[in-house]
């Protein structure tokens, strides 16, 4: 492993350790989300699963209104299903209704603070809004729960690179992202190299 990577890995470990050592909840609901990260997972009935799958299909197909209707029905049927609300958040974002998206993502996180979709996408919203610290917390929570999620890794890398100006962390996350790809991305590789030079 290149020296830089080793250094970054150490940094990652330190960061992780630091993140784990931090028990103090901070404001804005993130701490609460972290505290609820390890809640037990529920299961659906067949019928419920069928409905969910159907709604998901609509979403994937781009039928936003249909998917929205279905997931809203599911929200009544499964008022504690974080995935339902996360999907509603995705739909709202796609409809450029950012306030609703935020609300849905927060609702999803209140039900399951580990919901990666909500964590990541809400983190993206904060990034765009310039709330970099808030975005960082969300991404890191998602990373903690799903360390192999490429969206999360990529967003962490970009955040550190452009907005937090922590080039070393940016390298780390780019490398983790690169490692998760089926095949290395040349653009990512170039970034990693550029950052490596600048960080020195």
């Amino acid at each position: 492993m290149p020296k830089m990577l080793t250094k970054y890995s150490a940094l990652l470990v330190i960061t992780l350790i630091a993140g784990c050592a931090t028990n103090k909840p901070d404001q804005g609901g993130v701490a609460e989300l972290v505290a609820k990260a390890h809640l037990p997972v529920k299961s659906l009935t067949a019928e419920q699963q069928a409905k969910y799958s159907a709604a998901l299909t609509l979403l994937k197909s781009g039928d936003l209104s249909g998917a929205e209707l279905s997931f809203k029905e599911l929200s009544l049927l499964l008022p504690d299903a974080s995935g339902v609300f996360a999907n509603l958040g995705v739909i709202a974002e796609a409809q450029n209704d950012e306030p609703s998206a935020i609300e849905y993502y927060n609702k999803s996180l209140s039900l399951n603070p580990s919901n990666v979709v909500a964590l990541n996408n809400l983190g993206a919203i904060h990034t765009r809004a310039g709330h970099f610290k808030e975005a960082s917390k969300l991404y890191l929570t998602a990373f903690k729960n799903k360390p192999d999620n490429t969206s999360v890794l990529l967003n962490l890398a970009v955040l550190n690179e452009l907005y937090l100006h922590d080039l070393n962390s940016a390298v780390k996350y780019y490398e983790l992202y690169q490692a998760r790809l089926a095949s290395p991305d040349e653009i990512i590789a170039a970034r990693i190299s550029d950052l490596g030079r600048r960080a020195d």
Partner: protein, 972 residues
């Protein structure tokens, strides 16, 4: 005919035993005879014949019952005739005497049916006398000798042989001194002797009779005659003694000596008359008194005195009569008869027409029996009642006399004494005769008399009794009023008047009259009682007014309102009194904190005020206003703020000139403001300011007015108000704030020009504090910017920079901000000028200009960035980056000089690139510096623009997108 009547009067008739048989027979014959004439009568005679009688004399006597048995049907005349016949026909002295006795008995019983004439009677008794002498001469008369002597004496008397008769009686008393007949015998002897003027002997004889005791029927007569005998014998003392004994006897029968039988009464009267005569013979009253003195223990002594007094009066010896009366009074002052004598004296003098003595006696009578030391305490009820008529008359006379005399008396001292006398007499009359129908009027006159005598203290109770303790009379009202007038002249009344005068004029001890003041209580009692009893009287309203005033003065407000209310209700009350009443009621209600009623009455009072009541009118209005104000206060205290406000406002309308108006306006405003009733509060505060511009509360009102305007959305009015305040208090901190706020409000209300003017004025007048000054400058710069007055805008922007620069301790984030903003404007302006410079040929020259402009602009932006204000710093940084970038572009885009060949052009271009590249590098550098602001949390427009520009210039490094997860695979 000494015995005639006595014989008739005698009912006891002893029948001697030996005669009884004869009588029986005679009578039996008579009966038998008469029986043949009529049906056999019931036997009248009871015989007791046992059969053992040997002679007629043995026959036990029968007796005739003349009792309840009816008179035999034989005519009396016949019987008498028979007896007479018997008397005439017999020579037997015994029978004759018996028959005579029978005749006497019949005559005694049926005296009205005498059958014999006086002449025949005389003859009859002559013959009887012979029989009597015959019987007397007998050695053993058939009858008791004393009887025979007695009867003989009677017979002699009937025949006119008085001396014989007396001799017979003398023989009787000598032989039978203890006989029952001796008393009469002696009496007859005394009568004979008296008639023969043998008074001493007669007295002795009478005394002999009297010695036999009071059981004899001649006792009192003997005493009576003894008295006369002694009188005749000139033994007056003894005569008095006898007469007094007669009175003693009569007194036993009737203690009044006025209800005796006619004969007895005459005896008593004669006795007293005789005694009076004897008393009158005294040489002087002293001697008379001594004689009377002997009988002072006698229970009828008053009769003696009275008779003597009357005796003198008959003789018109008035003084003597009065002297006797006085003597009795002096000797027996406690006797119930004393008043009678006193009254007699009065009658005596009346009869004698001795006016002065008459009056003196009346006074003495009244003094003695109705005065303070009257002698009637031991009198019986009857005796006291007997005095009443006298006292009534005398008191009436004396009181009237003294009263009239007083009226005409010139000497005041004497006049007073007369009035005093009259008063006491009137009063005494009423006291002694309380039920008398005149008592009420008498008491009134007593009051009048006391009043005229200046004895006011005595007049009051007397008047009161007359007015209220007697049935209503024609002077009741005058008495009631007199009591009041009298009281006012007493020491208490005068003291009260003085006290009232001091309290109303603020004298040396100006206090209200104490309710416990006795004078006050009395005045009230009198006045109110009058008003209650004589509600229709013309004086009643004035008295009620006075009473109400007193009650008010003493703090008895409730009572004062009641009294005053009665004045108002009284139809006779004049407007002036009603005025007083309303004034009192209003003030009394005010004192009782019954402000509604106080107001009501003040308003009722107002129409009654006249032209010269100016001062009073002012006071009333002030009080009226105060009443309304107090109502409002009370409503506010009770939480009824709406009512309080309405009342305050009402006050300002109804009493616009009142001193309470300022309070009312203020308090109403305060209440409205407290309850956020801005629109309602505003006109009140405006009015306050207009009417009271110099009041100590005006400033506060001004402040509140501003608040009200602001809260009610009347910014312009608030602005005006603030401006006014600023003008009024120019130079003060408050004025400074007001001026600034006014400018702001004008600005908010769209009055930009006016606002600018005020901000400018503010700038000039108040350079400190820096915070406001710089803001004002800012507003002015904005104003001029809006009005496209660049020059003026620049001046104020420069002013802003200058203010911040010289702020020293007052420099703040805000001043820095404004200064940075102003600086940025200048930098932007420099940039615009930089942008306007085009790179033209010859490039060198234009480039020099461009460089110059660049330097100016860069300096300007750097100055802006130096303030450290984030948002301007990022803008400055971006602009700087932009400038350099633009310069690089301009260089690269500048025209190639003409006349160059291709190679030269290529070389020219390479040279331009070499010139331009540093600028581009600089631009990138500046952008990169700008985006570093994200470390401090700054991600404003300019940072974002730097990011965008970097992303454009250096996409490999700066063009990035966030990655969004498209869906949540799992529900949970």
């Amino acid at each position: 005919m000494l015995f005639a009547n006595k014989l008739i009067a005698s009912r006891k008739y002893k029948l001697l035993a030996p005669l009884r048989a004869v009588a029986c027979i005679c009578f039996a014959s008579a009966v038998a005879f008469s029986a043949t004439l009529e049906a056999a009568p019931k036997p009248k005679f009871l015989f007791d014949i046992s059969g053992n009688e040997s002679t007629i004399g043995d026959i036990k006597p029968a007796f005739i019952d003349f009792g309840s048995d009816p008179v035999p049907t034989i005519p009396i005349k016949e019987i008498i005739r028979r007896y007479k016949q018997l008397f005439d026909s017999t020579d037997d002295p015994v029978i004759r005497i018996d028959a005579l006795w029978r005749l006497n008995a019949l005559e005694q019983k049926f005296g009205s049916e005498k059958e014999i004439s006086a002449k025949d009677e005389q003859l009859l008794y002559k013959r009887a006398v012979e029989s009597y002498e015959a019987l007397i001469a007998m050695p053993s008369p058939p009858y008791p000798l004393e009887q025979l002597l007695y009867q003989a004496a009677k017979a002699y008397d009937l025949t006119g042989a008085q001396e014989k008769s007396i001799q017979s009686l003398e023989r009787l008393v000598k032989r039978f001194p203890k006989s029952d007949l001796a008393a009469e015998a002696w009496f007859r002897i005394g009568e004979f002797q008296f008639s023969n003027a043998q008074y001493a002997l007669a007295d002795q004889s009478y005394q002999q009779t009297a010695k036999r005791g009071s059981s004899t029927r001649f006792y009192d007569k003997a005493l009576f005659m003894s008295g006369w005998a002694r009188f005749k014998a000139d033994d007056k003392d003894q005569a008095l003694e006898s007469f007094s004994q007669v009175l003693d006897v009569a007194y036993e029968q009737d203690k009044s000596l006025e209800k005796l039988s006619r004969l007895e009464q005459e005896t008593v009267d004669d006795s007293m008359r005789a005694m009076s005569m004897i008393f009158s013979y005294a040489d002087d009253p002293l001697q008379t008194a001594r004689m009377l003195h002997r009988y002072e223990k006698k229970p009828y002594i008053h009769h003696l005195y009275g008779h003597l007094s009357g005796f003198y009066l008959e003789q018109e010896r008035y003084e003597d009569s009065a002297s006797v009366n006085r003597s009795f009074i002096d000797l027996f002052p406690n006797s119930e008869w004393a008043p009678v004598f006193a009254a007699r004296n009065i009658e005596t003098y009346k009869q004698a027409q001795f006016s002065s003595k008459l009056i003196a006696e009346k006074r003495a009578f009244v003094s003695r029996y109705a005065g303070k030391d009257s002698k009637v305490s031991g009198f019986s009820v009857e005796a006291k009642e007997k005095l009443i008529p006298y006292l009534r008359e005398y008191l009436d006379d004396l009181s009237h006399l003294d009263y009239l005399s007083a009226q005409s008396e010139k000497n005041r001292e004497k006049q007073i004494a007369l009035y005093q006398n009259a008063a006491e007499y009137y009063e005494t009359y009423a006291e002694l005769i309380p039920g008398d129908k005149e008592s009420g009027v008498k008491l009134f006159l007593a009051g009048e008399s006391y009043f005229n005598a200046n004895n006011y203290a005595a007049a009051v109770p007397v008047y009161l009794k007359s007015a209220y303790q007697h049935p209503a009379h024609k002077k009741s009202r005058d008495a009631a009023y007199g009591a009041i007038l009298s009281f006012r002249n007493t020491s208490e009344g005068l003291a009260l008047a003085q006290l009232l005068k001091e309290s109303t004029t603020g004298g040396s001890d100006s206090r209200r009259v104490e309710a416990t003041n006795r004078g006050l209580q009395q005045e009230l009692k009198l006045s109110l009682k009058f008003a209650e009893t004589f509600p229709e009287d013309s004086q009643t309203p004035a008295l009620l007014a006075n009473a109400a005033n007193l009650q008010y003065q003493s703090g008895a407000y409730l009572a004062a309102t009641e009294s005053a209310g009665r004045i108002v209700a009284n139809k006779r009350s004049q407007p002036s009194l009603k005025k007083t009443a309303y004034l009192l009621m209003a003030n009394a209600y005010y004192e009782q904190q019954k402000f509604v009623l106080a107001e009501e009455n003040f308003k009722l009072l107002m129409p009654l005020l006249v032209a010269n009541d100016a001062e009073l009118r002012g006071n009333v209005l002030a009080k009226l206003s105060a009443s309304i104000y107090k109502q409002a206060e009370a409503a506010a205290a009770a939480g009824n703020w709406e009512q309080a406000v309405d009342t305050y406002i009402r006050l300002t309308h109804e009493t616009p000139n009142s001193e309470y108006k300022v309070n009312a306006l203020y308090d109403a405003s305060a209440e409205l403001l407290k309850h956020q009733q801005w629109q309602r509060a505003i006109p009140l505060m405006v009015e306050f300011k207009q009417e009271f511009p110099n009041h100590r509360l005006t400033n506060e009102i001004s402040d509140k007015l501003v608040i009200a305007y602001l809260e009610s959305g009347n910014g312009l009015f608030a602005a005006d108000a603030l401006l006014t305040l600023a003008n009024e208090q120019q130079g003060t901190e408050k004025a400074r704030k007001a001026l600034y706020q006014s400018a702001e409000l004008f600005q908010e209300s769209g009055r930009q020009d006016q606002a600018a003017m005020l901000f400018k004025r503010y700038q000039n007048e108040y350079p400190k504090p820096v915070g406001y000054a710089i803001e004002a400058a800012k507003k002015l710069s904005d104003y001029y910017a809006q009005n496209a007055n660049v020059k003026a805008q620049q001046e104020w922007l420069q002013k802003i920079i200058e203010i911040d620069r010289s702020a020293k301790d007052e420099r703040s984030d805000r001043t820095l901000f404004l200064a940075a903003e102003a600086s940025l404007w200048f930098a932007e302006d420099d940039k615009q000028q930089f942008d306007r410079i085009k790179l033209t040929q010859p490039l060198k020259a234009s480039m020099a200009k461009k460089r110059q402009a660049l330097t100016t602009t860069v300096d300007a932006y750097q100055r802006t960035a130096a303030y450290g204000v984030a948002e301007f710093r990022t803008q400055a940084a971006y602009r700087l980056a932009e400038i350099y970038g633009q310069l690089s572009k301009d260089l690269l885009g500048s025209a190639v000089p003409a006349g160059l060949d291709e190679l030269q052009q290529e070389q020219y271009t390479i040279l331009l690139e070499e010139q331009a590249y540093p600028f581009e590098e600089k631009s990138i550098e500046l952008h990169e510096i700008n985006i570093k602001n994200t470390r401090d949390g700054i991600y404003d427009k300019w940072v974002q623009k730097s990011y965008a520009e970097l992303a454009r210039i250096f996409p490999a490094r700066y063009s990035r997108k966030v990655s969004v997860i498209d869906y949540a695979e799992n529900a949970y």
